[in-house]
Amino acid sequence: MASYSRRILPCFWKTTKLLTFEDSARRVPCRYHQELLPTRNYLLPETVEEHRKSELSKHPELPPSITSENVPADFRFVYPEFLPDPQYDRRDSIRERLEREDMYRRRAVIDIPEFYVGSIMAVTVSDQYSPNKENRFVGICIDRGGVGLRAFFILRNVVDGQGIEIMYEMYNPTLQSIQVLKLEKRVDDKLYYLRDAPQEYSTFPFDMDPIPVPKGSTVPVNKMKVQLNPRPWLERWERQDLQGVEDLKLEQRFYDKAAKVAKPWEKYDLMKWYRENTNEEERDSIMQEVHQRKRLTDIEKSKRKTKLAERKR
């Protein structure tokens, strides 16, 4: 410690400022040392933003942020795909803006309703290989993900004793309609464990009637617990913190190994959380924009409907 401080002190005395890494690099006597230092061959998003806003450039001004909208508190769970990418090195404000614009346009054409993992849905897509050029599938939503135009959801059902899962892209133009037959949530984020459960848990009739949710009520949470088949399984379910599953009835060694592999500290990892999420201000401004656009498109749609009704008369 003493020798370390002795080495640093004269520098303080000479330069009267703390030596940064770059300063110390400059003092190395190698001729081309600067070029040997690791460099970045891309720009940071902050610098790109700076240049976009710079008065020296002729970049168009961004529209002012909307603040007057009264957005419901759980609005962002209804439209999760509008939020920025969880991978922070893929974010870009202009790309997200243009992508959102496309999404609004598509949402004005077809109705993409509110749904969650655990809801039972019916989807119609145009399919050139089916006899009437259309394909309708009913199933339970076991996963939902993706950001922007690549947002998707997965439906699962059992047809003729065979489990079938189909992944649909929400903004794919071949998608004709999405209907929510039963709106509800489950206790887990992903229901992939239905693959290892008895088939009656994921069997739904194709001629199922929609069950309406009374207006103004909150979305019901189905707290059903699934009894899984005995091992072997597709995944080690005991290692995942599943809430919607009955006791797995395994030997103690499985639970011991699961406890050994578990990472309980990850939920306290603030840096990880920070990297995967955006700050509240940005999130709220996006949600306000989505809310405003939704309000406007709803008005337009109702106008169109009244016009059609008048014509029919």
Partner: protein, 374 residues
Amino acid sequence: MAAPRIGNVLCRISNCNFTSVLLEKINYSRSSTCLLQIRHRQAFPPAAWYVKRKTTDLDENLTKENEEFLDDVMKDVYRKRLDRVFSPLEDGPWKRNEYNRYTRRTGVLAIKIGVVPQWTKEGKRFTTTMLQIIDNHVIRYTPPEKFMKSAGWKPWWGNKYGVAVVGALSTNPRIYTKEYNNLFMESGVPPKKKLTRFLITENAAVQPGTPLNAMHYRVGDVVDCSAKTKDYGFQGVVKRWGMKGMPKSHGVTKTHRRMGTTAGGKFKGGIWKGKKMPGLMGNRWRTARGLKIWRVNTKYNVLYVTGQNVPGNTHGFVRVMDTKLPLRKPAPDNPPPMPTWYPEDATEPIEEEYFDKDLFQFTEESVKFAEGKK
């Protein structure tokens, strides 16, 4: 560079005076692909035309007010020049030539901002890369005769090409050296963060100070994009060359991700040149050729280009040029804007977005297939 070197060698061999060698008659051959791998970062002496960019210290003891005043002056000077109006005192706008099959236009220096999916009108999905063109200006044009005498010329380029230097991202001149700022005197634009040069033919010469934007390309054009690939640093053989490694268990010790044998015995005689080994991966110039432009946004100057394989990270600089592929480069009967697009060319008001005729627009109805069609 190469010509004097070869000339000197010839002088030594033939024991004659250097000026007596007729340089024009020497046939230069371009060396074939280099098999040498780069294992460690190498530092070369800077090129002959290199000027130091950043000032060493910005320790001017300015007050905040003075700094703001300097910024205001700087903005005043450059804002006027950004809308370039040719005064009668200057030489007027240069003559615009016609496009022919030998023409090579300048490219633009774009920034890669992300990858998004798009769909065709038949409902087929494909991915596109978005490239944004921010603050692009032509900084300098050097005609072929002058360029041939400069240090940056390579003999296999011949006498066909001049050079256009293009810069992107305007910055504050205070952070740069005087020598670097002087490069921008001719064009009158603020100093740029990044410069590149494009080899262009003489009939595609562009006047310094001309802004370049997304309208330089049309929807349906095909481009080449070259950029530096992602820098992975020093990597092992499994990641760098996709070798298999060895098993994780079953008695394997200390060779799980190693390359195994390097050479065969007997007649093969030791390690061959170009053996795939660990070393620096990425951070090299690579070109993705033949990428079609599907969509152009003129408000934010964004090009949507086929594929997700444009090299480099997001927010990396990408050189976008007309393609070299002979069957897909712009044809003389459908010429692109020469030498670039000017606002006075527009016969109709410019739309915010242009789409390819095969691209699905999100305002359209959903894709439906007809009965008889398959």
